[in-house]
Symmetry: C2
Subunit: 411 residues, 2 copies
């Protein structure tokens, strides 16, 4: 008998028919002898509807009241699913964040989970009851309703799995797993059976929006096996299991190709190279509340240095303005940039033990005439910035160069 936490997202419970289908899926798992805790999001569109009501009242709603408002979305779905289960003869019980005592700090709309009280739930589970929990919401120590921020239901599910020491946390969504890259860009993309927490974090933060990053961090920290599955697939899929690195198994060198269309690149060149120049340049950007992603610095042979960095595309104009001012102050030769670039990243824990990955990557891109504008590396990823017109070609070239369409890419 296994204890499974299942989480269903907004599209999976978006209609009454879908909620009934979710009930059937839960019952099938229960009939195999599993104990089940189910975490739900609001019906798709509901959270936006509620936010829309608030925005008709005021541009700057109270964060406390916003949490009172939007937390009703999940409360509706937990009641409906519990009814659906009971109408099929399966004992079920819904819990709001307050009822489950999902204790968080008081940072409304982005609260962090501190503790979960499990005694009552364990008793319910022992009696064969399916527990249906409102995702995304908690309660602070004063009894105020809090929310974990958008996508927080994934985090709720992982936290429940960690607290209850569940055997697996299954995240049901509208895709059937994690792919080597976005199938809309490379139709040959292949679903991965396994991926490590670290790889998933790199894939997620680079734009594969399957799971909320915090939930993956959380799962990694508490070593909760996480499985991404489709709630729309017929029968029982295996999805993708996200877990710790396993030395016993065959491990792919590269897990996938991530990409990000939302970046812009800025360069300040010919800056006199002296201590403190980096902080002068980047400080002015961060003071303008702009987050910097990649940073590269080259020192020239004329005693000057060039800085290149990337920011979110929405911040491009403001960043260029700020950087131009800094350039004047520092006596830089030139300040320029582009908001028509993209970032491509190769992700894989196998990089740690395999040399030559970078040169294979650069050679493959060069062969297709794709000019690399910027390079940045970490232990398990290599990112390059290229002109956005090369996005699809670049992804497909790398996908093929590392044999990701087959299982050929093994140690």
């Amino acid at each position: 008998m296994a204890l499974i936490v299942q989480k269903y997202g907004g599209t999976s419970v978006g209609t009454i028919e879908r909620i009934k289908a979710v009930a059937d899926r839960i019952i099938a798992s229960r009939e195999k002898g599993n104990q089940l805790v189910v975490v739900l999001s609001a019906m798709s569109g509901e959270t936006n509807r509620l936010i829309g009501l608030a925005s008709e009242i005021t541009d700057r709603p109270s964060a406390r009241e916003m949490d009172v408002l939007v937390s009703t979305g999940e409360q509706v779905t937990i009641a409906l699913l519990s009814m659906a289960l009971m109408s099929k003869g399966v004992p079920a019980k819904s819990y709001t964040g307050t009822q489950i005592k999902m204790l968080t700090d008081d940072a409304h709309s982005k609260a962090r989970i501190l503790d979960i009280q499990c005694e009552q739930m364990k008793q319910d589970l022992a009696e064969g009851t399916v527990i249906v929990v409102a995702g995304f919401q908690g309660v602070d120590e004063k009894g105020n309703i809090t929310t974990l921020g958008r996508g927080g239901s994934d985090t709720t599910a992982v936290a429940m799995a960690a607290a209850l020491k569940a055997d697996e946390c299954q995240i049901y969504t509208d895709v059937d797993g994690v792919y080597t890259t976005d199938p809309r860009v490379e139709p040959k993309a292949r679903k991965l059976d396994r991926i490590t927490f670290e790889e998933m974090l790199e894939m997620a933060s680079l734009g594969s929006k399957v799971l909320q990053i915090r939930s993956v961090e959380f799962a990694g920290k508490y070593n909760v096996p996480l499985r991404v599955l489709s709630s729309f697939e017929e029968g029982e899929g295996v999805g993708t299991l996200i877990t710790t690195e396993d030395n016993e198994m065959e491990q792919a060198v590269i897990s996938g190709i991530a990409f990000n269309r939302d970046e812009a690149q800025l360069t300040i060149s010919g800056v006199p190279d002296k201590p403190g120049v980096a902080s002068d340049i980047l400080g002015s950007i961060t003071e303008a509340n702009i987050e910097i992603d990649m940073i590269v610095q080259n020192v020239g042979d004329d005693g000057t240095t060039d800085f290149t960095f990337t920011v979110h595309r929405n911040d491009y104009k403001a960043a260029l303005e700020s950087l131009t001012k800094t350039g004047d102050v520092l006596g830089a030769r030139k300040v320029y940039g582009s908001d028509s670039i993209v970032k491509l990243s190769l992700v894989g824990v196998g990089m740690r033990s395999h040399a030559g990955i970078a040169s294979t990557m650069f050679a493959a891109l060069a062969k297709e005439g794709i000019n690399i504008l910027m390079i940045s590396t970490s232990e398990i990823k290599i990112s390059v910035v290229v002109d956005e017109k090369y996005l699809e070609l670049g992804v497909r070239t790398l996908h093929s160069a590392f044999g990701l369409e087959t299982d050929g890419n093994l140690k």
Copy 2:
């Protein structure tokens, strides 16, 4: 400085514009120096929408989960109104039934209030914060969400007023007070400035659906002055004050004319008159789960008796069937009835000390050729059953006979 509890019903908070208007009304009262506790219903239509979702899932939803579901309606409005108040610079704080610890028994969908915890609220009030409470909902001692049943927000408001020892409980609704009768039937109907709890109970139970009966009982029991006002009226209305009988003031003999179209009348005649016959007859009806309203018995001079009683019109067929069987068993002469009758009632505490009311009533009806089918009296009301075709004529005749269109009807 007075402490006022205000309650706004579903139509009063039915749109964002209406919620903003309610905020303005609250602020106006606060600027007069009042401390305010505001109890809200769900936006009109929302509770029905939620019930509709449940009915798509199952015909017999779990009562516990139904309460989890429908209680979200009020949670939405308290958040929105609090936001509206704060956006106008007025400190406000919402409370769900759970947060206010509105302790009830565990009778889901028809729970009774046992206790309210007031400490936190008193502190908020002292700080000048407007307290915005979700009506209709509570929490049982295990932390399950309960609801008080339809219209329960009135009861919440009265209970809050009683617990906080408020100076007045104001029920804002879509009518501007309690009338001498339904203005749709008698356009000369006059708004009452005052009415006693007892009279209001008779008026309400007889079909004037301004206030939930339980809330009036509650207000009478704890002596909470209750005022019915319109939330749609411009400026500040006085509405109708419902309070205890006041010997100091001029008191109308008759407060109003109530009527009820939902009744049907049944008669069993020529029943041998012996002990236990009443319980034989009425027992068979109540065994069929049919509620009996008026009961009249006459004893004839031939040693037999006639019974006439009224039931809800929906129960007419079942009651007639049951009574026919009883008639056969008891050897009754005849069993018959009619579902095209109505009940007209004269209500007024002044009846206690004034003779001749009944004869004035019967004479007025007789003058218009209205045949009385049945009479029943209590301390503060006289009810008659007449053919339904006489409803409008009967109401207008009595309204005029007792001078209700003017203030002429005084002691």
